[in-house]
Symmetry: C2
Subunit: 135 residues, 2 copies
Amino acid sequence: MQDRNEPDDPCSALTPDAQALVREVLARLVDKWGLWVLSELSENGPLRFSRLLERVRGVSQKSLTATLRQLERDGLVTRTMVVQVPIRVDYAVTPLGRSLVEQVQPLWLWAIARLPEFVAARAAYDANVNRRQVP
Amino acid sequence: MQDRNEPDDPCSALTPDAQALVREVLARLVDKWGLWVLSELSENGPLRFSRLLERVRGVSQKSLTATLRQLERDGLVTRTMVVQVPIRVDYAVTPLGRSLVEQVQPLWLWAIARLPEFVAARAAYDANVNRRQVP
């Protein structure tokens, strides 16, 4: 039955390091704030830190700082200091970041559309969890 | 400047609980094994546990068990016990799971194609990290 040795994982041609990086970048999107911040900057940017803090409702200053640093590190957002009094720092989406927002939107909308199925699956699973055995 | 009160987050119409669930489901894809297991089952399933363990190279029995339970709980995979000696347990992808694999593939391929840009961004960021200030 073992007719094939190669897995069909779409990232099977990548090195483990490269795979880990792809996962990390995509993981940023499902972080609590990553996609929201990126969407704001994509549609309304560039924005100052304080403006982002208002728009991304519920985010703390600390979380927004951490989110922006991760997005900047991944090349999705730029941070520009404008020399004036007081000093202003603008955040803007990069072409790479804009492309990512465009890529992820269909998946996100799909997940929202199928949400009732996920909710039902979880309810059914949790109701039956007691009958389960180890594989 | 605050001309709009509504954020442009595509999930802004969802309740916080629903948003969290969407995030959790999508997070499963970037788990170390989730998408690989789902892809295997999508292309070669149904498969027994032992067969999956062979195909998803490097996964431990413990991780595979945990991955399958999460996927089953989210309605992406079914688990069927076949009464024979010894008892056999088959795992198969659901239509929802197959749809998810199809949805995520373009994003994954995009991330792989843009990988050099992510690598370059990180190298540049890390090289300059010492000059950074708080926002």
